[in-house]
């Protein structure tokens, strides 16, 4: 089973689990991801999760952390954070601690903290940094 299928399967199980438990706190936390997706999805690039996971990981490990589904691999410097309510994800670089905003990468696997404009390096604006480091998940009809 590919990463995308595992993600979608986990997402449905997670939603069902909090629904059955009538866990309002978890449901509200989950809604935040959907709100973010609705608000910003037009600004985000679409990537294929299966392709990214196959490219970055040889032995992916999948874990639920709160409302997020995290994919990592001890042999890789990368980590992927999928949202469990809407189909989007971020990619992190474990060489930069995740308590720093520079942890999150663009689709070229480079930092999005700076950009070059007219040959000069500038700090990327928050809006642009956010749009460059969130990715809509490519979902085929077959899932």
């Amino acid at each position: 089973m590919g990463a995308k299928s595992l993600y979608l399967d986990n997402r449905e199980k997670y939603k069902e689990q909090i629904r059955l438990a009538n866990d309002i706190k978890a449901q509200e936390a989950l809604n935040r991801g959907y709100e973010r997706y609705k608000k910003y999805k037009l600004l985000w690039e679409t990537l294929d999760l299966d392709e990214i996971v196959n490219k970055l990981f040889s032995n992916p490990i999948y874990t639920n952390i709160g409302q997020k589904y995290v994919i990592t691999d001890p042999n890789s410097k990368y980590i992927i954070y999928c949202d469990n309510s809407a189909s989007y994800f971020r990619i992190g670089n474990k060489e930069i601690p995740n308590d720093q905003k520079g942890h999150y990468l663009g689709s070229n696997l480079e930092s999005v903290l700076n950009e070059t404009i007219n040959g000069k390096i500038h700090g990327t604006s928050k809006d642009k940094r956010e749009s460059l480091s969130h990715f809509k998940m490519k979902i085929n009809k077959k899932g």
């Binding site: 706190k25 935040r32 973010r36 709160g66 409302q67 997020k68 720093q100 520079g102 903290l113």
Partner: protein, 119 residues
């Protein structure tokens, strides 16, 4: 979780440049993962999100803009007054001080939630 509070225009610039060390212009308040998850368990961020029209969430950083700081202050005071949970009150009071200082400086705050620092 970290809360970034620029004290002036230079601090705002430093925040925009993702400066990760405290300077004379930018204060950074750290909350342990345990404190973050405790506040999360008390739905504190859901109240802030609702009152301040923002989306504070795990693995995201979010601004509470200047014009929403009074709402943040108000809802936090209400939650403190309604609570008998000393741990929650202590953490919420830390936020009160942050909101008050940001209002005094006429700036805003940025909240970055990263859960556990090492995964």
């Amino acid at each position: 979780m970290k809360v970034y509070l620029p004290l002036n225009e230079t601090g705002i610039l430093e925040l925009k440049q993702c400066v990760e060390v405290e300077t004379e212009n930018l204060k950074i308040y750290k909350f342990s993962p345990e404190e973050y998850f405790y506040l999360e368990s008390k739905k504190y961020f859901d109240f802030l999100n609702s009152e301040c029209s923002c989306i504070i969430d795990l693995f995201e950083d979010e601004d509470i803009p200047n014009d929403k700081l009074n709402s943040a202050l108000e809802i936090t005071n209400i939650l403190i007054n309604q609570s008998t949970d000393e741990k929650f009150i202590e953490l919420a009071k830390k936020f009160i001080k942050i909101f008050e200082l940001a209002i005094k400086c006429n700036t805003y705050i940025n909240i970055y939630c990263y859960g556990d620092p090492v995964i």
